[in-house]
Protein backbone atom coordinates (compact mmCIF):
# COMPACT_ATOMS: atom_id res chain seq x y z
CA UNK A 1 0.00 0.00 0.00
CA UNK A 2 1.31 3.45 -0.86
CA UNK A 3 0.54 6.75 0.85
CA UNK A 4 -1.95 8.06 -1.68
CA UNK A 5 -3.93 4.80 -1.59
CA UNK A 6 -4.05 4.98 2.18
CA UNK A 7 -5.16 8.61 2.26
CA UNK A 8 -7.67 8.42 -0.56
CA UNK A 9 -9.16 5.02 0.14
CA UNK A 10 -8.68 4.14 3.78
CA UNK A 11 -7.89 7.10 5.98
CA UNK A 12 -11.42 8.24 6.85
CA UNK A 13 -12.77 4.73 7.30
CA UNK A 14 -9.72 3.94 9.45
CA UNK A 15 -10.42 6.87 11.77
CA UNK A 16 -14.10 5.92 11.86
CA UNK A 17 -13.38 2.30 12.76
CA UNK A 18 -15.01 1.10 9.54
CA UNK A 19 -12.22 -1.09 8.12
CA UNK A 20 -12.47 -4.85 7.87
CA UNK A 21 -9.96 -6.91 9.83
CA UNK A 22 -7.99 -7.62 6.66
CA UNK A 23 -7.93 -3.96 5.63
CA UNK A 24 -6.90 -2.94 9.12
CA UNK A 25 -3.93 -5.31 9.06
CA UNK A 26 -2.81 -3.93 5.72
CA UNK A 27 -3.21 -0.35 6.90
CA UNK A 28 -1.35 -0.91 10.14
CA UNK A 29 1.48 -2.50 8.27
CA UNK A 30 1.79 0.62 6.13
CA UNK A 31 1.52 3.02 9.08
CA UNK A 32 4.19 1.18 11.01
CA UNK A 33 6.71 2.25 8.42
CA UNK A 34 5.31 5.64 7.37
CA UNK A 35 5.66 8.62 9.62
CA UNK A 36 3.78 10.92 7.23
CA UNK A 37 0.68 8.77 7.16
CA UNK A 38 0.78 8.41 10.95
CA UNK A 39 0.74 12.20 11.19
CA UNK A 40 -2.07 12.36 8.66
CA UNK A 41 -4.05 9.85 10.72
CA UNK A 42 -3.58 11.93 13.89
CA UNK A 43 -4.71 15.01 12.00
CA UNK A 44 -7.81 13.31 10.64
CA UNK A 45 -8.69 12.08 14.09
CA UNK A 46 -8.25 15.60 15.48
CA UNK A 47 -10.65 17.01 12.89
CA UNK A 48 -13.18 14.34 13.81
CA UNK A 49 -12.89 15.10 17.55
CA UNK A 50 -13.08 18.80 16.93
CA UNK A 51 -16.33 18.40 15.03
CA UNK A 52 -17.78 16.08 17.65
CA UNK A 53 -16.88 18.39 20.51
CA UNK A 54 -17.54 21.75 18.97
CA UNK A 55 -20.42 21.42 16.51
CA UNK A 56 -23.33 23.31 18.01
CA UNK A 57 -26.01 21.39 19.83
CA UNK A 58 -29.33 23.12 20.32
CA UNK A 59 -31.71 22.45 23.13
CA UNK A 60 -35.28 21.77 22.19
CA UNK A 61 -37.20 24.87 23.29
CA UNK A 62 -39.36 23.98 26.31
CA UNK A 63 -42.51 25.03 24.48
CA UNK A 64 -41.79 22.70 21.60
CA UNK A 65 -41.00 19.86 23.97
CA UNK A 66 -44.23 20.56 25.84
CA UNK A 67 -46.34 20.52 22.71
CA UNK A 68 -44.77 17.22 21.63
CA UNK A 69 -45.57 15.61 24.98
CA UNK A 70 -49.13 16.93 24.75
CA UNK A 71 -49.47 15.44 21.25
CA UNK A 72 -48.23 12.07 22.58
CA UNK A 73 -50.89 12.28 25.30
CA UNK A 74 -53.50 12.91 22.63
CA UNK A 75 -52.35 9.85 20.65
CA UNK A 76 -52.49 7.72 23.81
CA UNK A 77 -55.99 8.92 24.58
CA UNK A 78 -57.18 8.28 21.01
CA UNK A 79 -55.63 4.79 21.01
CA UNK A 80 -57.23 3.98 24.36
CA UNK A 81 -60.67 4.99 23.18
CA UNK A 82 -60.17 3.09 19.91
CA UNK A 83 -59.18 -0.02 21.87
CA UNK A 84 -62.27 0.32 24.06
CA UNK A 85 -64.49 0.54 20.97
CA UNK A 86 -62.85 -2.38 19.20
CA UNK A 87 -64.61 -4.96 21.33
CA UNK A 88 -67.99 -3.70 20.18
CA UNK A 89 -67.19 -3.06 16.55
CA UNK A 90 -64.46 -5.04 14.82
CA UNK A 91 -64.34 -2.62 11.93
CA UNK A 92 -63.68 0.41 14.08
CA UNK A 93 -59.91 0.08 14.01
CA UNK A 94 -59.72 -0.76 10.35
CA UNK A 95 -59.64 2.78 9.03
CA UNK A 96 -56.03 2.84 7.93
CA UNK A 97 -55.50 -0.84 7.33
CA UNK A 98 -58.79 -1.40 5.51
CA UNK A 99 -57.61 -0.71 2.02
CA UNK A 100 -54.82 -3.19 2.45
CA UNK A 101 -56.77 -6.11 3.84
CA UNK A 102 -59.03 -5.91 0.80
CA UNK A 103 -56.03 -6.07 -1.52
CA UNK A 104 -54.45 -8.90 0.37
CA UNK A 105 -57.32 -11.21 -0.55
CA UNK A 106 -56.55 -11.15 -4.27
CA UNK A 107 -53.03 -11.38 -5.52
CA UNK A 108 -52.61 -10.14 -9.03
CA UNK A 109 -51.70 -12.71 -11.62
CA UNK A 110 -48.81 -10.59 -12.97
CA UNK A 111 -47.53 -10.15 -9.45
CA UNK A 112 -47.61 -13.89 -8.90
CA UNK A 113 -45.74 -14.55 -12.13
CA UNK A 114 -43.22 -11.91 -11.25
CA UNK A 115 -42.75 -13.42 -7.81
CA UNK A 116 -41.96 -16.79 -9.35
CA UNK A 117 -39.34 -15.06 -11.47
CA UNK A 118 -37.81 -13.48 -8.37
CA UNK A 119 -37.57 -16.85 -6.67
CA UNK A 120 -36.08 -18.47 -9.75
CA UNK A 121 -33.40 -15.83 -9.58
CA UNK A 122 -32.83 -16.34 -5.87
CA UNK A 123 -32.55 -20.09 -6.30
CA UNK A 124 -30.07 -19.72 -9.16
CA UNK A 125 -28.13 -17.15 -7.26
CA UNK A 126 -28.16 -19.10 -4.01
CA UNK A 127 -27.03 -22.28 -5.75
CA UNK A 128 -23.94 -20.48 -6.95
CA UNK A 129 -25.07 -20.39 -10.56
CA UNK A 130 -23.78 -17.62 -12.74
CA UNK A 131 -25.73 -14.38 -12.44
CA UNK A 132 -26.71 -13.41 -15.91
CA UNK A 133 -26.24 -9.83 -16.92
CA UNK A 134 -29.26 -10.29 -19.19
CA UNK A 135 -31.95 -11.55 -16.82
CA UNK A 136 -32.63 -9.58 -13.67
CA UNK A 137 -36.01 -10.80 -12.43
CA UNK A 138 -36.61 -7.94 -9.97
CA UNK A 139 -36.11 -5.56 -12.92
CA UNK A 140 -38.68 -7.59 -14.83
CA UNK A 141 -41.14 -7.21 -11.96
CA UNK A 142 -40.67 -3.46 -12.03
CA UNK A 143 -40.83 -3.18 -15.83
CA UNK A 144 -43.92 -5.36 -16.19
CA UNK A 145 -45.70 -3.21 -13.66
CA UNK A 146 -44.42 -0.05 -15.26
CA UNK A 147 -46.00 -1.04 -18.58
CA UNK A 148 -49.22 -1.99 -16.89
CA UNK A 149 -49.38 1.21 -14.83
CA UNK A 150 -48.50 3.45 -17.78
CA UNK A 151 -51.80 2.33 -19.32
CA UNK A 152 -53.78 2.37 -16.12
CA UNK A 153 -52.63 3.00 -12.60
CA UNK A 154 -54.99 2.21 -9.77
CA UNK A 155 -53.56 3.35 -6.46
CA UNK A 156 -54.65 1.42 -3.40
CA UNK A 157 -53.24 3.87 -0.89
CA UNK A 158 -56.04 6.34 -0.47
CA UNK A 159 -53.99 9.48 -0.26
CA UNK A 160 -51.40 10.62 -2.78
CA UNK A 161 -49.73 12.98 -0.33
CA UNK A 162 -46.07 12.03 0.15
CA UNK A 163 -46.40 11.96 3.94
CA UNK A 164 -49.42 9.63 3.83
CA UNK A 165 -47.80 7.33 1.29
CA UNK A 166 -44.70 7.22 3.41
CA UNK A 167 -46.81 6.27 6.44
CA UNK A 168 -48.54 3.51 4.49
CA UNK A 169 -45.23 2.07 3.26
CA UNK A 170 -43.74 2.18 6.72
CA UNK A 171 -46.76 0.40 8.13
CA UNK A 172 -45.80 -2.48 5.85
CA UNK A 173 -42.17 -2.32 6.91
CA UNK A 174 -41.15 -0.79 3.60
CA UNK A 175 -38.85 2.21 3.28
CA UNK A 176 -40.64 5.47 4.02
CA UNK A 177 -38.58 7.53 1.60
CA UNK A 178 -40.36 8.94 -1.43
CA UNK A 179 -38.62 10.29 -4.47
CA UNK A 180 -39.51 13.78 -5.47
CA UNK A 181 -39.40 14.42 -9.21
CA UNK A 182 -41.39 17.62 -8.97
CA UNK A 183 -38.48 19.72 -10.14
CA UNK A 184 -38.16 17.66 -13.31
CA UNK A 185 -41.85 18.20 -14.05
CA UNK A 186 -43.35 14.98 -12.69
CA UNK A 187 -46.17 14.80 -10.23
CA UNK A 188 -46.87 11.97 -7.89
CA UNK A 189 -49.91 10.04 -9.14
CA UNK A 190 -50.16 7.69 -6.18
CA UNK A 191 -48.95 4.49 -4.62
CA UNK A 192 -49.96 0.92 -4.22
CA UNK A 193 -48.84 -1.88 -1.95
CA UNK A 194 -49.10 -5.50 -3.02
CA UNK A 195 -47.60 -8.73 -1.87
CA UNK A 196 -45.24 -11.12 -3.55
CA UNK A 197 -45.84 -14.86 -3.22
CA UNK A 198 -43.57 -15.17 -0.20
CA UNK A 199 -45.72 -12.69 1.66
CA UNK A 200 -43.23 -9.83 1.50
CA UNK A 201 -44.63 -6.45 0.61
CA UNK A 202 -43.84 -4.53 -2.52
CA UNK A 203 -44.64 -0.85 -3.00
CA UNK A 204 -45.14 0.94 -6.29
CA UNK A 205 -45.08 4.71 -6.56
CA UNK A 206 -46.09 6.16 -9.88
CA UNK A 207 -45.11 9.55 -11.30
CA UNK A 208 -46.39 11.25 -14.43
CA UNK A 209 -45.08 14.32 -16.25
CA UNK A 210 -45.17 15.99 -19.62
CA UNK A 211 -42.11 14.05 -20.72
CA UNK A 212 -43.16 10.61 -19.57
CA UNK A 213 -43.68 8.44 -16.53
CA UNK A 214 -41.52 6.93 -13.77
CA UNK A 215 -42.28 3.98 -11.54
CA UNK A 216 -40.50 3.44 -8.24
CA UNK A 217 -40.63 -0.11 -6.87
CA UNK A 218 -39.58 -1.10 -3.37
CA UNK A 219 -39.10 -4.76 -2.57
CA UNK A 220 -36.94 -7.01 -0.43
CA UNK A 221 -33.53 -7.34 -1.99
CA UNK A 222 -33.58 -11.17 -1.99
CA UNK A 223 -29.80 -10.96 -1.96
CA UNK A 224 -29.69 -9.22 -5.33
CA UNK A 225 -26.25 -8.01 -6.32
CA UNK A 226 -25.88 -5.18 -8.81
CA UNK A 227 -25.93 -6.75 -12.27
CA UNK A 228 -22.75 -6.90 -14.29
CA UNK A 229 -22.40 -5.09 -17.55
CA UNK A 230 -22.48 -1.50 -18.53
CA UNK A 231 -23.58 0.75 -15.74
CA UNK A 232 -23.61 4.45 -15.15
CA UNK A 233 -23.61 6.02 -11.77
CA UNK A 234 -25.51 9.04 -10.61
CA UNK A 235 -25.31 10.20 -6.99
CA UNK A 236 -24.38 6.68 -5.93
CA UNK A 237 -27.28 5.04 -7.76
CA UNK A 238 -26.58 2.65 -10.62
CA UNK A 239 -28.34 3.06 -13.95
CA UNK A 240 -28.76 0.44 -16.67
CA UNK A 241 -30.40 0.05 -20.03
CA UNK A 242 -32.49 -3.07 -19.73
CA UNK A 243 -35.05 -4.44 -22.20
CA UNK A 244 -35.10 -1.02 -23.84
CA UNK A 245 -35.97 0.77 -20.59
CA UNK A 246 -33.91 3.04 -18.38
CA UNK A 247 -33.55 1.44 -14.97
CA UNK A 248 -31.97 2.83 -11.82
CA UNK A 249 -31.11 0.57 -8.89
CA UNK A 250 -30.48 1.89 -5.44
CA UNK A 251 -30.49 0.56 -1.93
CA UNK A 252 -32.56 2.67 0.42
CA UNK A 253 -31.89 0.22 3.24
CA UNK A 254 -29.80 -2.91 3.49
CA UNK A 255 -32.80 -5.23 3.14
CA UNK A 256 -34.53 -3.40 0.36
CA UNK A 257 -33.92 -2.41 -3.19
CA UNK A 258 -35.41 0.52 -4.97
CA UNK A 259 -35.88 0.19 -8.72
CA UNK A 260 -36.80 3.21 -10.83
CA UNK A 261 -38.03 2.51 -14.34
CA UNK A 262 -38.77 4.86 -17.20
CA UNK A 263 -39.10 4.92 -20.96
CA UNK A 264 -37.05 8.11 -21.01
CA UNK A 265 -33.64 7.99 -22.70
CA UNK A 266 -30.89 7.29 -20.17
CA UNK A 267 -29.39 10.75 -20.28
CA UNK A 268 -32.67 12.51 -19.54
CA UNK A 269 -33.62 9.90 -16.95
CA UNK A 270 -30.33 10.42 -15.12
CA UNK A 271 -30.94 14.15 -15.25
CA UNK A 272 -34.37 13.61 -13.63
CA UNK A 273 -32.73 11.57 -10.87
CA UNK A 274 -29.99 14.12 -10.33
CA UNK A 275 -32.54 16.92 -9.96
CA UNK A 276 -34.55 14.88 -7.50
CA UNK A 277 -31.65 14.65 -5.10
CA UNK A 278 -31.78 16.72 -1.92
Amino acid sequence: MDCSTYIEKYLSAHVDGELSAAELREVEEHLAGCVNCRARFAEERAVKSLLRERAEMRRTPPMVRGSILAALDAIDAADASKAAGRGRDRSAGADRAGWFSIRRARVWVPTAIAAVAVFAFVILHGAGGPTSAHAIPPFDVAIDHYDQFAERFEPNVKSALPADLSDAYMEHQLPGFLWNFQHSGYSLVGGRIDRLEDGTSVAYTFYRGDNGTILCTYMKSHGLQPPDGETREISGHHCYRYRGYSVCLSYPHGDFICILVSHRPMKEFMQDIAESEP
Binding site: A13, L51, E56, T60, G176, F177, N180
Partner: protein, 192 residues
Amino acid sequence: MADKSGTGADRRRRFEDEALPHLDALYTMALRLSRNPDDANDLLQETVLRAYRFFHQFESGTNCRAWMLTILFNNFRNGYRKSSREQPAASAEEFERKLENESLRAEAGGSNPESILSGQGMEGEVETALKGLPAEFREALLLVDVEELSYLEVSGVLNVPIGTVKSRVSRGRAILRDMLASFAKERGIIPS
Protein backbone atom coordinates in the same frame (compact mmCIF):
# COMPACT_ATOMS: atom_id res chain seq x y z
CA MET B 1 -51.85 -6.79 14.66
CA ALA B 2 -50.91 -7.50 18.23
CA ASP B 3 -49.17 -4.57 19.82
CA LYS B 4 -45.58 -5.74 20.01
CA SER B 5 -44.72 -2.88 22.29
CA GLY B 6 -47.26 -3.96 24.90
CA THR B 7 -49.92 -1.76 26.43
CA GLY B 8 -50.26 1.92 25.67
CA ALA B 9 -48.65 2.88 28.97
CA ASP B 10 -45.83 0.45 28.31
CA ARG B 11 -45.22 1.91 24.85
CA ARG B 12 -45.18 5.41 26.29
CA ARG B 13 -42.66 4.45 28.97
CA ARG B 14 -40.37 2.71 26.48
CA PHE B 15 -40.64 5.64 24.09
CA GLU B 16 -39.72 8.08 26.82
CA ASP B 17 -36.76 5.93 27.85
CA GLU B 18 -35.39 5.09 24.42
CA ALA B 19 -36.53 7.76 21.99
CA LEU B 20 -37.03 11.05 23.81
CA PRO B 21 -33.42 11.30 25.05
CA HIS B 22 -32.54 11.98 21.39
CA LEU B 23 -34.85 14.99 21.14
CA ASP B 24 -32.11 17.63 21.28
CA ALA B 25 -30.04 15.82 18.66
CA LEU B 26 -33.10 15.65 16.40
CA TYR B 27 -33.93 19.28 17.01
CA THR B 28 -30.40 20.36 16.16
CA MET B 29 -30.49 18.37 12.95
CA ALA B 30 -33.97 19.71 12.12
CA LEU B 31 -32.62 23.26 12.48
CA ARG B 32 -29.68 22.47 10.25
CA LEU B 33 -31.91 20.97 7.56
CA SER B 34 -34.75 23.45 7.50
CA ARG B 35 -32.63 26.52 8.29
CA ASN B 36 -35.65 28.13 9.88
CA PRO B 37 -36.78 27.58 13.48
CA ASP B 38 -40.51 27.43 12.65
CA ASP B 39 -40.02 24.75 10.02
CA ALA B 40 -37.60 22.95 12.34
CA ASN B 41 -40.25 22.83 15.07
CA ASP B 42 -42.78 21.37 12.63
CA LEU B 43 -40.25 18.88 11.31
CA LEU B 44 -39.30 17.79 14.82
CA GLN B 45 -42.89 17.40 15.95
CA GLU B 46 -43.87 15.43 12.85
CA THR B 47 -40.83 13.19 13.29
CA VAL B 48 -41.47 12.39 16.93
CA LEU B 49 -45.15 11.68 16.38
CA ARG B 50 -44.43 9.37 13.47
CA ALA B 51 -41.74 7.61 15.48
CA TYR B 52 -44.28 7.10 18.24
CA ARG B 53 -46.88 5.69 15.86
CA PHE B 54 -44.34 3.30 14.35
CA PHE B 55 -42.51 2.53 17.56
CA HIS B 56 -43.61 -1.12 17.38
CA GLN B 57 -41.35 -1.38 14.33
CA PHE B 58 -38.28 -0.20 16.19
CA GLU B 59 -36.11 -3.17 17.06
CA SER B 60 -34.99 -2.94 20.64
CA GLY B 61 -31.23 -3.10 20.94
CA THR B 62 -30.62 -1.33 17.62
CA ASN B 63 -29.67 2.34 17.40
CA CYS B 64 -32.76 4.38 18.26
CA ARG B 65 -31.08 7.65 17.32
CA ALA B 66 -30.31 6.32 13.82
CA TRP B 67 -33.88 5.09 13.49
CA MET B 68 -35.33 8.46 14.44
CA LEU B 69 -32.89 10.36 12.24
CA THR B 70 -34.03 8.20 9.33
CA ILE B 71 -37.60 9.29 9.98
CA LEU B 72 -36.47 12.91 10.29
CA PHE B 73 -34.63 12.88 6.95
CA ASN B 74 -37.53 11.06 5.27
CA ASN B 75 -39.98 13.63 6.59
CA PHE B 76 -37.75 16.44 5.46
CA ARG B 77 -37.46 15.07 1.95
CA ASN B 78 -41.07 13.96 1.73
CA GLY B 79 -42.08 17.49 2.68
CA TYR B 80 -40.59 18.42 -0.66
CA ARG B 81 -38.05 20.61 1.06
CA LYS B 82 -40.51 23.43 1.13
CA SER B 83 -38.33 25.81 3.06
CA SER B 84 -35.35 25.54 0.77
CA ARG B 85 -37.09 25.49 -2.58
CA GLU B 86 -40.68 26.57 -2.52
CA GLN B 87 -40.60 29.42 -0.09
CA PRO B 88 -38.23 32.30 -0.27
CA ALA B 89 -35.53 31.50 2.24
CA ALA B 90 -35.22 33.81 5.22
CA SER B 91 -32.31 36.21 4.86
CA ALA B 92 -29.06 35.12 6.44
CA GLU B 93 -29.31 37.84 9.12
CA GLU B 94 -32.88 36.92 9.96
CA PHE B 95 -31.86 33.28 10.23
CA GLU B 96 -28.96 34.10 12.54
CA ARG B 97 -31.18 36.35 14.65
CA LYS B 98 -33.77 33.61 15.04
CA LEU B 99 -31.11 31.09 15.97
CA GLU B 100 -29.77 33.54 18.52
CA ASN B 101 -33.24 34.00 20.05
CA GLU B 102 -33.80 30.26 20.19
CA SER B 103 -30.46 29.80 21.83
CA LEU B 104 -31.05 32.52 24.44
CA ARG B 105 -34.46 31.10 25.29
CA ALA B 106 -33.00 27.62 25.66
CA GLU B 107 -30.27 28.93 27.94
CA ALA B 108 -32.81 30.76 30.08
CA GLY B 109 -34.53 27.40 30.57
CA GLY B 110 -31.62 25.76 32.36
CA SER B 111 -27.92 25.05 32.23
CA ASN B 112 -26.58 23.93 28.89
CA PRO B 113 -23.03 22.64 28.81
CA GLU B 114 -22.68 23.40 25.10
CA SER B 115 -23.66 27.01 25.58
CA ILE B 116 -20.82 27.52 28.04
CA LEU B 117 -18.42 26.66 25.27
CA SER B 118 -20.08 28.79 22.63
CA GLY B 119 -18.49 32.12 21.84
CA GLN B 120 -15.08 30.92 22.90
CA GLY B 121 -12.79 28.37 21.34
CA MET B 122 -13.53 26.91 17.94
CA GLU B 123 -17.35 26.97 17.72
CA GLY B 124 -17.40 29.88 15.34
CA GLU B 125 -14.78 28.36 13.08
CA VAL B 126 -16.24 24.87 13.18
CA GLU B 127 -19.73 26.13 12.40
CA THR B 128 -18.50 28.50 9.71
CA ALA B 129 -16.55 25.69 8.09
CA LEU B 130 -19.54 23.37 8.35
CA LYS B 131 -21.83 25.91 6.72
CA GLY B 132 -19.33 26.25 3.90
CA LEU B 133 -19.49 22.55 3.10
CA PRO B 134 -21.86 21.26 0.42
CA ALA B 135 -24.97 19.86 2.13
CA GLU B 136 -24.33 16.24 1.21
CA PHE B 137 -20.85 16.29 2.79
CA ARG B 138 -22.07 18.20 5.82
CA GLU B 139 -24.92 15.77 6.50
CA ALA B 140 -22.70 12.70 6.18
CA LEU B 141 -20.04 14.19 8.46
CA LEU B 142 -22.51 15.29 11.12
CA LEU B 143 -24.13 11.87 11.18
CA VAL B 144 -20.81 10.07 11.51
CA ASP B 145 -18.84 12.44 13.73
CA VAL B 146 -21.47 14.12 15.86
CA GLU B 147 -24.28 11.56 15.96
CA GLU B 148 -21.75 8.72 15.96
CA LEU B 149 -23.63 6.58 13.46
CA SER B 150 -21.95 3.79 11.54
CA TYR B 151 -21.59 4.07 7.75
CA LEU B 152 -24.32 1.46 7.39
CA GLU B 153 -26.68 3.46 9.59
CA VAL B 154 -25.88 6.65 7.68
CA SER B 155 -26.58 4.87 4.43
CA GLY B 156 -30.08 4.11 5.75
CA VAL B 157 -30.64 7.66 6.99
CA LEU B 158 -29.47 9.36 3.80
CA ASN B 159 -30.87 6.76 1.44
CA VAL B 160 -27.57 6.30 -0.39
CA PRO B 161 -25.26 3.30 -0.85
CA ILE B 162 -22.59 2.73 1.77
CA GLY B 163 -19.80 3.51 -0.72
CA THR B 164 -21.32 6.94 -1.23
CA VAL B 165 -21.34 7.53 2.53
CA LYS B 166 -17.69 6.59 2.64
CA SER B 167 -16.69 8.97 -0.13
CA ARG B 168 -18.80 11.83 1.24
CA VAL B 169 -17.22 11.47 4.68
CA SER B 170 -13.77 11.29 3.20
CA ARG B 171 -14.18 14.30 0.90
CA GLY B 172 -16.11 16.31 3.45
CA ARG B 173 -13.52 15.79 6.13
CA ALA B 174 -10.71 16.70 3.74
CA ILE B 175 -12.40 19.99 2.90
CA LEU B 176 -13.17 20.68 6.55
CA ARG B 177 -9.59 19.90 7.49
CA ASP B 178 -8.27 22.41 4.99
CA MET B 179 -10.65 25.06 6.25
CA LEU B 180 -9.76 24.44 9.88
CA ALA B 181 -6.10 23.66 9.46
CA SER B 182 -4.65 27.12 9.77
CA PHE B 183 -6.71 27.99 12.81
CA ALA B 184 -6.17 24.62 14.45
CA LYS B 185 -2.43 24.83 13.90
CA GLU B 186 -2.29 28.20 15.62
CA ARG B 187 -3.97 26.65 18.60
CA GLY B 188 -1.86 23.52 18.55
CA ILE B 189 -4.97 21.37 18.16
CA ILE B 190 -3.43 19.52 15.26
CA PRO B 191 0.30 18.95 14.80
CA SER B 192 1.96 21.55 12.61
